[in-house]
């Protein structure tokens, strides 16, 4: 029994995860190291990497700030509508990525509701990609911080305030240091998702090569062009980021 069940578990991950990832690397390197390096160093690939980093470096800090504010309000105070607010934070998990992209097209597209108000090009341009990335990564930090802050209770903060600390001193010296591991954990997951988001970004991007393609979109373009070796070469970068994410997750879990 024991052997059968362990066999099923290992077999499942081998067939659905390990073999597919080996296939990614095998295809990426099938013509050797030079074509691999050439594929990930093309101007389009580098532009895609840069755009992905720009989108993540705006979306992740925004959602960290939001997560801290939301956790403080929700975990430390009781107010009407608190439970609804928690559900509202979960919404990005529930809405299909394609629908997320569509919402921003409806708002900012050529005939969008806000097209007359905002004159900067948002959809089919970089700002739309940032917005879509920010939307899909909203819950990650908040969802880690709310239970962590609830579990800690307000005693330490009350003590600091009683001893004469200002609210901001209390925040920087008591609240934030106590939340560093859940914050790091949430930020890592948020970053991984920001880098890897595909569906929502795909809708708002317009697929202008070298301008509005993120790394996952660049993989898609190469793949649909039948440039499999190049597509899988660029995909290995994303696989390595995902592996690093999982490893860092483990490290954080051990240290908290």
């Amino acid at each position: 029994m024991r052997r059968t069940l362990i066999g099923i578990a290992i077999g499942f991950f081998a067939l659905f995860l390990v073999v597919p990832l080996v296939v990614v690397f095998a295809t990426a390197f099938r013509d050797g190291v030079v074509p691999y390096l050439r594929a990930i160093a093309t101007p389009d690939a580098r532009a895609a990497l840069k755009l992905t980093l720009v989108a993540a470096s705006i979306a992740v800090p925004l959602n960290i700030a939001f997560g801290i504010a939301a956790a403080w309000a929700i975990a430390r105070f009781k107010f009407p509508g608190r439970r609804m607010l928690v559900t509202l934070i979960d919404i990005p998990f529930a809405v299909s990525p394609v629908v997320v992209g569509m919402m921003f097209v409806l708002l900012f597209g050529a005939h969008g509701y806000l097209a007359g108000v905002i004159h900067t090009k948002i959809v089919f341009a970089v700002p739309g990609i940032v917005l879509a990335t920010a939307f899909v990564t909203i819950p990650f930090v908040a969802r880690e911080l709310i239970p962590a802050l609830e579990a800690r209770g307000p005693d330490q903060e009350l003590a600091a305030l009683t001893l004469g600390a200002t609210p901001w001193q209390t925040f920087w010296r008591v609240t934030l240091p106590g939340l560093r591991w859940p914050l790091a954990y949430g930020a890592i997951l948020c970053t991984a998702r920001a880098i890897g988001e595909f569906g929502a970004v795909s809708v708002v991007s317009g697929h202008v090569r070298g301008e509005t393609t993120t790394v996952p979109l660049h993989v898609e373009i190469l793949y649909n062009d039948f440039q499999y070796q190049a597509a899988f070469a660029v995909a290995t970068l994303l696989v390595m980021i995902a592996l690093a994410t999982v490893i860092v997750q483990r490290v954080i879990e051990r240290s908290r």
Binding site: L21, L106, L217, Y223
Partner: protein, 290 residues
Amino acid sequence: MKRALPGFGLSLGVTLTYLGLLVVVPLSAIALKTSSLTWPQFWATISAPRAVAAFGLSLGASLVAAAIAAGFGTIVAWVLVRYRFWGRGVIDALVDLPFALPTAVAGIALTATWGPTGVLGRWLHAIGIEGAYSRVGIVIALVFLGVPFVVRTVQPVLAALDPRLEEAAATLGATRAQAFVRVVLPALRPAITTGFALAFARALGEYGSVVFISGNMPQRTEIAPLLVMTKLEQYDYAGATALALVMVVASFVLLIAINSLGRRTQRRDRTRRRAPAPDAVPPPAAQVIA
């Protein structure tokens, strides 16, 4: 009322402003766009044969995949909690990988592996099953995505379950299978249900991993999110919105159901004295993902 802690106004203000601008305003655009359709137009869009086929496929494939994921996920959780074996840590870490792996990468990797010429797909192909560009392929991608949800909801509940309950069942004459079905499974059922619902909800809206493996043939392997995408590319925004509205309503209902599922089992376990295990509570919905 004077509150003991500072910062309520600021933190709630930031939270509501941010969610208002980034979530509520965009969502209301869907409602606004839908209201530009008349009821017959709306109905014609969502009841068109291609739309019905896409909804049916999304629903059916997601249900099948979530059910398979519930089975595999429970076995994986069981193995991780109850057995110590070489490579257990690696398996435990691998569980989180589908969460971290970009869906487009998962899509092309699974297609290359399970497609008719892939290292695994060619064996399926030989016995007449297509592992890619088919409904089987869609289910493969969705099972891949769904299993981590089930493992991560069942695992903590199983870890908190006292093995002495099974020992007691055994001393009272139960076989191992009986002990599992009568003692362990009832305690795990809320967690498995929650995991199933999470996997199902995620599968319904999934796009990235499915588009590569499905083949995208209208009325055969075209999922609902892809049909929305197609309509957007044809600048049929009203039609896309009508389909999206159906999907959004379905996922909201699911989200609320999942959240109340978690809460109800929590409450029941707290009030019921003879509950099999006081700690056997699945974590709240999205906490598993985050």
